[in-house]
């Protein structure tokens, strides 16, 4: 079973990662942290089991093109909830990407995945793709489809996609138009520590959530940061890396490293947890590239989730927005970046916004890219548990700082005809600042 070309590839990829694989002492502490193991009970669907399969491939005991390897590596959500509980510090996320690459080289990914990765990673394809998406959303067709389409057979996936699309709509109680923008009033807020901050615009975020990017810029400015525009930036490559397409991920990373280095920004603010996690790992992604590794590490060190930047200076308090918020941790913020409190600090800067942490907030929502489409049953199970936990909060709105999670939870709520809106914490703060009049002073943009 060994000696296949795929195994050769692994020899280079996973085998080079022995240092990362060996620390696993098989203690099993990761098992209960894993959403797939918790639901299936099969150890091949646990982090320890997957690491064991990777090890077996490295040892030449398992063919990476085997159904077992591909299925169980593919079935991982990539939520990395296993990392913080691992006493040996196994870098599971990195290993998973390498394993995915190995498995993908042996047997390519399914068509939907390949299509999506291609589109997201290519600027020229991205804009028409998201234009159609916005059209479906704007005309109400997405919402309609999600309501009327049946939930079986091929419709199931289409229905889910439309529901996800519809859920990217702005939460109604927020201002219906872009904030009456202008140069923001830094007011009496301390501006002495003004740093230059670049903002990653991203692919999905720019395509469907441009309002969050604008809000990010305004909120940072209102807190005294100088926001610099970065030309030539691209998709961060996170989804490609998660999907095992490390080559594309590296290409995208190189573009971003060039662009952000050129901008001269002190910090790079990222408002999508998945992108932030990926960019913080650029150094690891490009560790085999001597020309780039140094710069990659420098860029990685400058990356912050936008909430980290805001929380570090204690965000400026805005105007009251009385509402009840259910906060859910994106895995790639909590587990991959270890950021737990900062987004909550951001929400708490809005007077009268009451924040409740969703029960089981540390567990994945099942979004995980297009997991709900590629793994409808398991994804549905995991997503269903999250939606129930969210609904149990009896909140007005769900806040979670990652587009994938916003869409997954939003779609789940929509399909259950539940009324909670979905927002990024920065959106709420932005609205609060608008109401406070922070954006009124000053000239036009």
């Amino acid at each position: 079973m060994t000696g296949a070309p795929a195994y050769e590839a692994l020899g280079q990829a996973l085998d080079a990662q022995k240092e990362r694989l060996l620390p696993c002492v098989h203690c099993g502490f990761c098992l209960p942290a894993c959403p797939t193991y918790n639901r299936l009970g099969n150890e091949a669907d646990s982090p320890r089991g997957r690491l064991h399969l990777m090890q077996a491939v490295v040892e030449g005991r398992l063919d990476p093109s085997s159904e077992a390897f591909r299925t169980h590596i593919d079935r991982c959500l990539g939520c990395r909830a296993c990392e913080p509980v691992c006493p040996s510090g196994v870098e599971y996320g990195t290993l998973l990407e390498l394993a995915r690459e190995t498995a993908t080289k042996a047997v390519p990914q399914g068509l939907p995945t390949r299509f999506l990765l291609k589109v997201l990673g290519t600027r020229a394809l991205r804009s028409p793709f998201f234009f159609i998406g916005r059209l479906l959303r704007g005309t109400g067709l997405a919402a309609l489809g999600a309501t009327v389409l049946p939930s079986y057979g091929p419709f199931r996936a289409i229905r889910l996609v439309l529901a996800m699309l519809a859920s990217t709509t702005r939460w109604q109680p927020m201002a219906s138009e872009e904030a009456t923008s202008g140069n923001t009033d830094s007011g009496s807020h301390d501006v002495s520590r003004r740093s230059r901050v670049a903002v990653l615009l991203g692919c999905v975020q720019e395509g469907l959530f441009a309002r969050i990017n604008s809000a990010t810029v305004r909120v940072l400015e209102a807190n005294g940061y100088e926001v610099v525009l970065v030309e030539g930036q691209d998709c961060c490559g996170a989804l490609h890396a998660h999907g095992g397409d490390l080559e594309s991920a590296r290409m995208l990373a190189r573009s971003n490293i060039r662009a952000f280095k050129a901008s001269g920004a002190d910090l790079i603010a990222v408002n999508a947890a998945g992108c932030g996690a990926a960019m913080k790992d650029y150094g690891i992604l490009l560790e085999g590239d001597p020309d780039f590794v140094q710069r990659a590490e420098e860029v990685a060190l400058a990356v912050r989730d936008v909430s980290e930047i805001l929380a570090s200076s204690g965000p400026r308090i805005g105007a009251s927005i009385p509402c009840k918020i259910a906060y859910d941790h994106p895995c790639h913020l909590l587990h991959a970046q270890g950021v737990e409190h900062a987004p909550i600090t951001v929400l708490e800067a809005v007077p009268d916004a009451e924040v409740h942490i969703v029960a089981g907030a540390e567990e994945c929502c099942g979004g995980a890219g297009i997991y709900g489409i590629t793994h409808p049953e398991l994804g549905g199970l995991i997503g269903g548990d999250k939606v129930s936990a969210v609904r149990a909060c009896l909140a007005d709105v769900v806040a979670t700082p990652n587009p994938g999670c916003m869409m997954q939870i939003g779609a789940g709520l929509r399909l259950e005809a539940s009324n909670e809106g979905v927002i990024h914490p920065v959106e709420l703060l932005d609205e609060s600042y608008r109401r406070a009049g922070f954006y009124r002073a000053g000239g036009a943009e």
Binding site: C27, N42, P87
Partner: protein, 488 residues
């Protein structure tokens, strides 16, 4: 993990399961809960002790007592051995498959069936994670006392099989103290109820007590009735820093002999401190310390400061460099987390690790620790000690690199010497990890042929054809000899 110790890894081919048996199993538990693909079975080839590897013929994951009974009945009627498995965190190879065996896993039996607040008992399925029971009973002011270091992942069924301990069993006792009743599936799939808190325990023999700690060799516990305790009012956690592990050991003896009853007394030695501090669970232990002593008192708030003061005095009298007191719950959790995750954190300082487990009379701790140090030096091996000092329950962890063939042999010899040292000091070969496959050969250090035969006879009462977890606990050779000598 590659073969750790020569000759321990099975090379024999595992026989595939007859397809009729596989389809009958699928009939009982559902197709997706029967694993027969050899590639997938690889993940079940080891438990927490990776020195041993052997894939089972199949893995079955039932979800109820009735399903377990039907599965065991089917397998046993085909003469197929059953190896019970919980979370696979055991450290003695107790869940290692046999070449003919099928693993019956309890991962899907993870429901708490009943919490009886009035009588302070809970009934749980075997796949419930230890810590989850405490989480579930906390709202009622109750908790489940046994707290093995793996409590965040190990299952109650596994705890019953191993009679697991934990840091707090110094004051509160091991699993057996808390198991009041069991529903078990025995040979042939027979469902039997044992004990129960409302029944007169003196109507028959202590079958529950015998079943607890039987390492899956008697049957599978499918419902477990457990006693809960009220959450104590207050806690004080002390951290004593010592220059050497011997002086920390002397402090332990002094504390216990002074009439204090700590909830837990744990020692973390220098090499372990190094590993933990390098991990994500760094607790701020000084890196230059020879040993850290974690002492905890719990109970009525009013008496705790006095107890803590006296323990601190004992530490200082034995030469503690400093004694810290955890002032808030967060600090306390951090101190404990470092202790409990120490085993996993060893992966940071060496590629491989052999976790040992032995108990010695507490007063012998300083001399035994010095002896272990001596053995380590003689073999040129790094040995990290992290253990339940109050119970005299040692965990010498031998660090090594399996790539180094020469070192493997040294590890094995050192390990044996440590066992002998502990037995000579009046101790035993395992305090809480069980015998499994790993310690079978050491059983003769503490038991004679007659004792081993008596254990074998007890097993035969429950499992006459030896179809539950064969090849564990008892050394095959000695039992055979005992049989011969008996028939003479």
């Amino acid at each position: 993990m590659a073969s750790l110790l020569t000759g321990k890894v099975s090379s024999g081919m595992t026989q595939p399961l007859p397809s009729s048996v596989a389809s009958d199993l699928a009939e009982i538990v559902g197709h997706e809960h029967v694993i027969t693909d050899p590639d997938r079975l690889l993940v079940y080839e080891s438990d927490g002790l990776t020195a041993y590897r052997r894939s089972p013929r199949a893995v079955v994951l039932p979800s109820s007592t009735e399903e377990i009974s039907a599965v065991v009945g089917l397998l046993h009627s085909n003469g197929i051995e059953v190896i019970p498995r919980g979370a696979g965190t055991g450290l003695s190879g107790g869940a290692l498959a046999t070449p003919e065996g099928v693993i019956v896993g309890t991962a899907r039996m993870n429901r708490i069936l009943k919490i009886d607040v009035e009588n302070r008992i809970a009934i749980a399925q075997p796949g419930v994670i230890n810590a989850r029971l405490t989480e579930a009973t906390n709202p009622y002011g109750l908790y489940y006392a046994p707290d093995p270091s793996s409590q965040s992942t190990c299952t109650l069924g596994g705890n019953v099989a191993e009679n697991s301990g934990g840091p707090h069993c110094l004051k509160y006792g091991v699993t057996a103290r808390y198991v009041t009743g069991l529903t078990v599936v025995l040979a042939g799939g027979r469902i039997v109820e044992l004990g129960g808190v409302g029944r007169d325990p003196y109507t028959t023999l202590d079958l529950v007590g015998l079943f607890v700690g039987s390492e899956g060799c008697f049957g599978i516990a499918t419902e477990i009735e457990l006693r809960l305790l009220p959450i104590t009012e207050g806690v004080r956690t002390l951290l004593g820093i010592f220059e050497s592990v011997e002086s920390a050991g002397r402090a332990v003896t002094k504390i216990i002999a002074s009439g204090l009853m700590p909830a837990a007394v744990e020692i973390v030695d220098g090499p372990t401190i190094e590993a933990v501090e390098a991990s994500v669970f760094a607790a701020g232990y000084p890196l230059e310390a020879g040993a850290a002593l974690v002492i905890e008192f719990d109970g009525t708030e009013a008496g705790l400061d006095l107890d803590a003061d006296r323990a601190e005095q004992c530490c200082l009298e034995e030469g503690a460099i400093e004694v810290q007191r955890a002032t808030d719950p967060e600090h306390r959790m951090k101190l404990w987390r470092a202790r409990k995750k120490a085993f996993g954190a060893m992966g940071r300082i060496a590629p491989d690790l052999l976790v040992q487990d032995a108990t010695v009379p507490r007063t012998k701790l300083p001399e035994v620790l010095a002896g272990i140090d001596n053995i380590g030096n003689r073999y040129g091996l790094k040995i990290a000690n992290v253990f339940h000092a109050g119970d005299g329950n040692l965990h010498p962890n031998i660090l090594f690199d399996r790539q180094n063939q020469n070192e493997l042999e040294l590890v094995e010899r050192a390990s044996k010497e440590i066992m002998q040292l502990c037995v000579d000091a009046g101790g035993t070969i395992t305090g809480e990890h069980g015998v499994g496959v790993d310690k079978r050969e050491y059983m003769t250090l503490v038991h004679g042929p007659a004792e081993l035969e008596a254990m074998a006879a007890a097993k035969r009462v429950f499992d006459p054809a030896s179809l539950f977890n064969p090849g564990k606990v008892l050394p095959a050779v000695e039992v055979k000899e005992a049989n011969e000598s008996r028939s003479n």
